[in-house]
């Protein structure tokens, strides 16, 4: 009954969400409106979704959270498309190496231990992320920086004021600073991170040390925008940042 070729391929210059048919545009949404549940609320929800450029908005669930608020679950078909081929996301240019390779590279290139100071800064008390990167035992079976033969890893823990971190980095003649930021509410992390870069610049240290940041809501994009050399997120391990730091230090040395 059909002569269709198999399988169908998406047009990458115009990608759309995919429900069960290519380009059907299907999107699921949920939100609360501050009005009582009822036909008018139902209609309001549909209009809102229409305004988002979704066709055939369909309310699949309307529940009263309380007499003044209504929770909606909806579906709609997105009419917008994205040109995937035009997207270029800059990445930190480095190759991920294993622990042994990193150590060997440090040894041959620098012939000395690198010092890396790390902390979870500001009022942020989440240590698990920075510990996962720095502590001996590491995370998910990936050893942390303390385990690296050629890295002197100093983990200052959490709630570390930027000033204290920078002072320590100076004292230890650090090659790199690593910070972790987990709490992002009210953009707390942006403030803390921006402040660190300002301090480093004021001290004339920004060019001298590699500075990287990580956390579940950090992207490489955001990090570089804020003046960091790299950003790391969920699923990164010690070898990622170690590889980056060494290769960046080599690059900078060679550039001189």
């Amino acid at each position: 009954m059909s002569n269709q070729t198999y399988p169908r391929k998406p047009d990458l210059t115009k990608i759309r969400p995919y429900g069960d048919t290519l380009d059907d545009g299907k999107v699921q949404l949920s939100f609360t409106l501050p009005v009582p549940a009822g036909p008018e609320a139902y209609e309001a929800a549909k209009r809102l979704v229409l305004m988002m450029g979704l066709e055939d908005p369909s309310v699949v669930s309307m529940q009263a959270v309380d007499p003044t608020m209504t929770f909606f679950i909806m579906y709609g078909a997105c009419t917008k498309t994205v040109d995937y081929t035009s997207i270029y996301v800059p990445r930190s240019e480095f190759t991920v190496m294993e622990m042994g390779e990193v150590d060997d590279l440090i040894e041959t290139e620098f012939g000395r231990e690198l010092t890396i100071v790390g902390a979870c800064t500001g009022t942020d008390a989440h240590t698990v992320g920075i510990d996962a990167i720095m502590n001996m035992k590491g995370f998910n079976g990936h050893y942390g920086l303390e385990r690296y033969r050629m890295i002197n890893a100093i983990n200052m823990g959490a709630q570390v004021p930027n000033e204290v971190l920078v002072a320590r980095a100076i004292e230890e003649k650090a090659d790199a600073i690593l910070v972790s930021q987990v709490v992002t509410q009210k953009n707390l992390h942006i403030m803390t991170l921006t402040n660190l870069i300002e301090i480093l610049e004021a001290e004339g240290l920004r060019g001298k040390m590699v500075v990287a940041v990580g956390g579940p809501r950090i992207t490489h994009d955001l990090a570089t925008e804020l003046g960091f050399d790299a950003g790391f997120s969920v699923g990164s391990y010690a070898e990622d940042v170690a590889s980056f730091v060494v290769q960046e230090l080599i690059r900078r040395r060679d550039a001189q």
Binding site: M1, S2, Q4, G19, D20, T21
Partner: protein
Amino acid sequence: MQITIDTAKVAYGRELASRIAKPMLDYFRSHSTLATERAALRLYGVDGVDDAGVPWPNRVVDALAAQDKLNRGASYWLGHAAIATGKSTQDAAIALAEGQVDLDAPIPEREITAWADATAERLLNELLAKRRERKATRDRLNVGPKPWRYLIVATGNIYEDVPQAVAAARAGADIIAVIRSTGQSLIDFVPYGTTTEGTGGTYATGGNFKLMREALDEVGEELGRYIQLTNYASGLCMPEITALAAQEGLDMLLNDAMYGILFRDINIFRTLCDQYFSRLICGATDIIINTGEDNYLTTADAFEQGHTVLASQFINENFALAAGMPPRLMGLGHAFEMNPRTENGLMYEIAMAQLVRQVFPEAPLKYMPPTKHITGDIFQAHAHNALFNLVSVLTHQEIHLIGILTEAIHTPFASDRFMALTNTNYVFNYAKDMGAELDFKEDGIVANRAREVLDRSIELLEEVDRMGLVEAIGKGVFADVKRAPDGGKGYHGVFARSADYLNPFMTRLERLNHVEAMR
């Protein structure tokens, strides 16, 4: 887990079921149907469609019926045509359909029988060899551990179904079911080729089966895990679809006359006859059937009517035994359909699932997820499915239909399937061995519920035995649905076999499955 139930009662239930099935067995051994004859033709290799898109098996059977020749069996006339025309089977069939064969031409009956027999033997051996080959692949690659993760694809378009099925397999599915297009069970022919325009599902066709089978074989090799394929053989074309499934390498089939009767209003006699031939094929070609008792609980209340499921399973088991199927091929169906607002509902679900497990210890039970009480609240549906997953792994269910969070909304999106699998994989692993070391108080809610369901199912079987199956169905005993013996779709397609009726495939399958010995 083990609940103390009276094994004598279970044995008594089986005895009642065999008494209930008996009159039907006699009936469908003396009757045949349009679909059964078409299935025989398909087994002879008759395939394809005419210019109007009508399948040749239909054309042949309709032509014979028009000439009142059908009660001798289509196989007989195919033999006649083959000898008369000297053409290939397919061309002989076409000639037969086109009225180009003189049915009164004097061809010795022995010659026809010989041709029909020999051809059936050769083709059946070829089919069984192909099935053995498939079994070897299955053994080599291995199927995943049980409960098997069963996922549906249902886009309506086989070319969309295939990549989605492959994605599901990669995410952990063990079984792929391609849901049929709405209403296919009511059409009295099997569409041909690959199709792209189903509603609510994709047409079951030989071409679609082949395409999906190839894709799953390929991804199975990639994954080092054999992916089973299933489809729907209930409805007006039950034995034909079974024949196609056997030919195209399917591993399972939804196959249940009771479902067709109750939920599709298919005539009782028509579909029970068809089911007999269909299950003969399944038994010989190692196809696991899935029965549809779970559906009862989508119309009737799961708490009130749990026992009708068990009673029907007893009957369904007996119909499968009558076609010589071993218990290991009986995917008896039941479901997790208790109202989520039921106090202690989880305990009743465990009781039911464990009861069925103990009553049918060898059957690869098919366990359906919650559907009826799933609403558009997809988040809550996911929580609901988590408990379903838990009960399945605790009570060692085998064919686990994965609950989909958008059940109340649409046939699943690729992402719905992905999320549902994530949920299932989590629970199956997180509670892997829990069923083995858990027990319930001897006189508690769970144990008492299991015993109550067993007792009530026995009572129901006694009642059905008293009035007869056909009358019981007429009274709405199952799923609150009533069906009259002469009502429903397809009754016109049932006919009494003549004394010299010929169907060598049926005869051989009965022999293969040791059905003769059982009479």
